[in-house]
Every structure is written in C-alpha cells, then in structure tokens.
Symmetry: C2
Subunit: 408 residues, 2 copies
C-alpha cells in the first residue's frame, strides 16, 4: 500500500468524517464508573456494511444488526460493554430488539436504521432498566467534538487498557475524504471473518455493496490476521458507515481514486488491528510475524497465524528469549507445504536461521531487541511467492491473572 495515497489526520476521530456525531456514558452495566454505553449517529442515511464472527453461537445483537442492514443503510449504531448478551435465549433477543427500538425512538429514527452491538460477559441477561435509562440520556450527550468521540471510544472498552482510534484523509476527485475507525479488543481475539467490535465512519460517497466488498477484502488482510489467544468471540462485528457527504463522483472500483481510498481504508483497519493486538490482555508488546516465500498468500497467512498463535512463541517473546526453535516448530505444524531445508528466520534484523540451520548470533543484541515494545519475526520459506503479515502479542502473567478471574 502506498503511503502517499492518504494522510493521517492529527487528532482526527470517529466524528471527523462529515455527518457523524457520537456519545458515550456510564449507565451501570460495568461495576466501575467507566463508560459502558455509546452511540454513533449519522445526520443522513449512511450506506453501511458489516462483517461478523464465524462462531456458530452468535450473540443476539448480531442478528438484530443483520436485520437492520438488510437495506444497506444505517443512521446509528448503539453499543454497550459489560455484557455480551450472548447465549441469553429469547429474552436476550428481545432485549436486543428493545435496545434498538429505544435508541430509534430517542433519535427519531426507524428501527431498521439502528445497528446494535454488545461486548462483555457471556450468558447473563442485560440489566434492561439501567440500559434503557442510559439510552434515554444518550441523545442529550451526543455531539461532534473530540470529547464526544472520546466518550464513545471509552464506552466500548472492556479489559482494554487504551482506546483505539484513527482517522485518515484521502483525496478523491481532488476533494478531501475522511475515513475513521474505533475498536475494542483485548480478550477472546482470534477473528475469523470479522473481529471484535470495530466501527468505521467515512464521508465518502460509496454504495453499500462496494463498501461491503472493500470491508471483506480488507478484513482478510487486517483484522483476520490478529490473534491474542486463539479464541473467536460470539460477538465479533465490524460496522462501517459512509455518510456520502463529501462532494465527489461516487467511488467504485472503476474510479481513478479507488486505490487511494482503498489504501486509506486498509490503513485504518491495519492500525486498529495492530492496536488490538498490542493491547491484548496482559500484553507487554506487539509481535508482528512476516511470512515470505510461501506457496501462496493463503498458505502464508495460515503459517503466520500458527506462529503468532503459539503459546510457546508468545511466552518466549515475553521472556525476550530468541527461541527460534519454537518458531520453526510452529511453521512445521501449520499444515502448509514447506521445504524443510530452506527456511530462514530473522528476529528484526538478527538472522538466527538460514537454510533451516542455526546461525550464530549476538545473544545480547537479540535480548535487547526482544525487550522492545514491538518485535518482528520474519520467516522466509523460499518455496513460492506467497506472503502475509500477522499481529499478536506476548503471553504474560497478566494474561493468566486477568482470565483466571474475569467473570467473578
């Protein structure tokens, strides 16, 4: 992707694209005083698209959002944290519909203008009295300043330590178009098809169908290439809304600026995906795995995800241990074709394996490198032309601490 195609917008947020407002507040679903209810609203019907988890046990909000997206437009997406509303049966479905209806009512919208998302504990019913009171306060809290965006970003977090948000600008027909995104991640992160909760806004003029196509293509190379713990959530959802308020010719793959727009779109997704990986539960660093020379891109992705998902590799990264044996063992069990005699492995710039044979390296330099907050593992298979990038994090004491006592 070309860095020239887009520019990052300093202090840009989810409400930077024209037509969008946001809000976030605390309604009492989380035990602490942190925000747990948020909304993104568009002034006009926004061409919208979404991708969802492949987990068979999909939470109630996903079903409701699918329904709302049938006509390809949305005006708002309402989201709560602290409770996933998953495995909650008919009552859970009813609650998700109530959440949608109440939001539509407060913002004077049709019900099918509203998407619904939830994240948090599985299997507990939503405290609907708190939630509906919260929704009743949302409209008054909504606006298009950085503070409003910040309140929204905070409202979607669970065990996340930092908010994840980005905005880029792209020129389309000489007009500045914005693409922004916000996400939450942290645990149960091993997206397949979609990711944790992520929301994208853009003022580009683009159809729902083309937005959906762009979303799917980009997701495969970004959100679907991260893993924190190999677990795929029941609630993963990525919703993208386009207000169409930027004054340019409609974006289609035939448009001269399509590639530039797609590059900016991809950058937003990649940034959020990396931010989710870096802020994985208990993580002290971002780990990036690069696989080159695989028989195909698909094969490279499978290998990269196996390496980034290995508990032993992740533990070694936590310990800043240049234990490349675990990397090659992961490559060998990925179920993909490799030549067992031609594998090179680098840790950053430090070559540790050439032609599948150990290379003497400076252990002190490796230790120093692996202690950094971003670590790259590069595997070159010399077998084909396929390549892939995957992102994850280290496995730490804190991951265990957080997850040994999440529900209780």
């Amino acid at each position: 992707m070309s860095d020239q195609a887009f520019q990052q917008v300093q202090n840009g947020s989810i409400v930077t694209p024209a037509g969008f407002q946001a809000a976030g507040l605390h309604c009492g679903l989380k035990k602490t005083e942190r925000n747990d209810l948020g909304v993104i609203v568009c002034d006009v019907p926004a061409a919208s698209a979404a991708v969802y988890t492949t987990n068979l046990f999909q939470a109630a909000p996903l079903q409701v959002t699918r329904e709302s997206l049938n006509n390809g437009t949305l005006r708002a997406v309402v989201v709560n944290s602290g409770n996933a509303n998953a495995c909650t049966g008919q009552q859970g479905e009813q609650d998700a519909y109530t959440m949608r209806a109440r939001t539509a009512q407060q913002f004077h919208l049709h019900e099918d203008d509203v998407a619904v998302a939830s994240t948090g504990v599985i299997g507990e019913l939503l405290k609907m009295d708190r939630l509906t009171s919260g929704i009743d306060n949302l409209a008054a809290a909504t606006g298009n300043t950085a503070e409003h965006a910040e309140a929204f970003c905070q409202s979607i977090l669970t065990t996340d330590l930092v908010k994840k948000e980005i905005c880029v600008a792209v020129k389309v027909d000489g007009v500045t178009v914005h693409i922004a995104g916000a996400a939450k991640g942290s645990g149960m992160i091993h997206p397949n098809m979609a990711t944790m909760l992520a929301f994208m806004t853009t003022d580009a003029k683009i159809s729902s169908a083309h937005l959906h196509q762009l979303l799917r293509d980009t997701t495969d190379r970004t959100f679907n290439m991260i893993t924190v713990d190999g677990d795929t959530s029941t609630n993963d959802m990525l919703v993208s809304m386009a207000s169409g308020l930027a004054e340019h010719e409609e974006l289609t793959p035939a448009h001269a600026d399509w590639e530039a727009y797609a590059a900016g779109f991809c950058h937003v997704c990649e940034h959020l995906a990396q931010a989710i990986a870096r802020d994985g539960e208990g993580a002290t660093k971002l780990v990036e795995v690069v696989v080159n020379g695989a028989i195909s891109d698909l094969s490279a992705r499978a290998i990269a995800k196996t390496v980034i998902g290995s508990s032993l590799v992740k533990s070694a990264m936590f310990g800043a241990d240049a234990n490349w044996g675990r990397v090659i063992a992961a490559v060998g069990r990925a179920g993909e074709p490799v030549n067992v005699n031609t594998v090179d492995i680098r840790l950053g710039d430090i070559v540790v394996l050439t032609g599948s044979r150990p290379v003497p390296f400076d252990e002190d330099a490796a230790l120093e490198y692996l202690k950094g907050d971003t670590v790259q593992i590069v595997v070159d298979l010399h077998y084909g032309e396929g390549s892939a990038l995957a992102w994850g994090c280290d496995l730490t004491y804190d991951y265990v601490r957080i997850n040994a006592a999440y529900r209780t």
Copy 2:
C-alpha cells in the same frame, strides 16, 4: 473398555514384562545432576512398532529410528534428554547415527536393532563427548529391578515434575501377559499422530504389524487427545516393543483374548496420556473434556480438542471460575456442526447450561468443585451419536514463567 479385562500391577514398571532391562544415568547434557541418558534393552529381538510426530521438521533421531524399524524388530532404544537434536543439519544426523552405533557396540547388537530418541532444546548440537562417554557406562548400569526402571524414567524427563509409568497384567490363553509404559511430556504437547516420548514394553507374543495397528488405533484415542499448549513437537515418538516371551498363542485380532489385550494396552496409553496432561507445564490440575452427541466420533474429537486447547477455558479452570461462556464459545468455533439451541454443559455434576441456555447453579459448589485437582467439563450436543474424551490442564502463571525462560 472393560475394567475386568486387565489388572494394574502394583509397583510394576517398564521392566516388569519378561525380557526387558533398563538403565538411566547422568552424562552431562542437563546442567543439573539429573539423569539425562537412558536405555531399554530386550534380551531377545522384540517385535516393535512406532508412531511419530506429524511436524514437518522432524528431528534426526526419528529418521534413524525409522530406519531401525524397517525390519519390525528392535533390541534396544536409547534416549537422551536435555537436547532434542532437532534442526541440527547433517551434523545432527551424523550424531544420531553415532548414538545408535555406540549403543549397539556397547550392548553387542546390530545397529538396526537400536532405536534413538532425544528431547530438549531445539537447534543445538549434542555434546557428543559427554554422550558417548555416557553410553559407554550404560551397559554396566543396566538391570531389571525397579531401581533400574526408575533411573530410566528419570532420564527422559525435561520440565516434567513427576515420572509417568504404569504396568498392567492381562490373561491371554490363561497366561499372564504384561504391558508397561513410561513417558515424558510437559511442554510442546499437542500430539498429532504420536506424542511426546513414550516407551511401551510387553512380553506378549504379537507381530510387529499387529502391534503397529494397535498402536495407531489406540494413539488416536489417547495420546492424540491431549494438549498442554497446542504446540506439536519436532520429536514426538512412541515406541512399543514386544518380547514375545509370554507362552501363549500369538495375539491377532482373531484371538479370543485380543479385546482384553487391547483394553489393557489402551489403559496404559490413557494413563500415560492423562499423566502427561496433569503434569503439563505449570499445571495445577487435570482437565478432562467429554463431548457427547456429536455428529461423529471424529467431530466430537475436534470439538473436545478445541475446548481443551482454549487459553480462556484453561485460564478459567486455573481460577476455578465456572465460566461456561468460554466453553460454548470454543464449541462454536471448532468448525464442526452443532445445533446452537440444544447444547448442555456440566462441570462435573453441576449443570450450568441446558438447551444452550444458562441454568442457575450453586456458585459456591462450582467453585469448590473447580478447585479440585481433576475437573471434568461435559458437553452434550444432542446432535448425533459421536463422543470423545480429551485431556489437558489449566493455564497458570507457572506456564508463563517456565516458558519465558526455558532456553536461557
């Protein structure tokens, strides 16, 4: 499997089956004074069979053992711990051949009578001076007492905390036949096809081909159903040797006592597999996952392995947290067909989910149960007749501690 078919032999060991001797000693491959070199020797040519890791990067000893097993018989298997002799190139292959030749010489055997196994760090060359000196001392250390077996069992351990050994007796034609096994496990445990290092001895009269068939069938239901961390080693190997010294008609599937023998054989494998899971790196408890009502046994196995391999489920078990949401999320991402409305989940006898809906349960009783040293998670899909058992352990601070600093 019938409990009546076999009896466990108190104080039985790897040398209880007639014709077997063993030894173990410290030759200097491990930094501490623990045993790191062992041998099992048979007084007569033993019909033998083995299964191996499916990891593409197979360690040098596996190649050598395959060669020795070409004719279906072995007289000895020599094993070192502290160094896996994996990813060590031509020198590593040469070292594995030297290890075999030196052992053959010391025990006055043909080279192809000897199998070779290694476990430990990947990518470092064996200290051959220490190893060959050790081998030269092995013959004098060999015998058929419990102490000799103990020395062998200790010699194969790495990060294991306890030895794993069992012996059962079965009647074949009214004659007592013994089946014994010893194994090492602990880390990089996610066998597929074979397991970590495991060795079985028996005095039964059985051909190499039938032993191999039995070994493959049994491995699929035992060693291949355990996971500690999802990583499949480069060195997994299970070698089984039958001295044939018990005086009965040769065992074939047509023999009246075949099922009894197979049951005893399976019990030995299951015992060792469970022992490996229970002694997983950092583990505080054995976790058993039972899946019933799947569309097939194969499907049940895939689901059981997904649940037992989930870092979130494993962390919850460490925290004694009855977080069944993570169990159902794992079921839903296993890639197997389920009816999302008919899933029951029990923790031991405590029902937490019926028809995919939460059931109120006694949290104190669940906490008490999950604090135990053996925990059972039972998933009933009500979808078909397939069932499976899988074993694993909890994910703990100690797993991270051990693996953040294994190599260094």
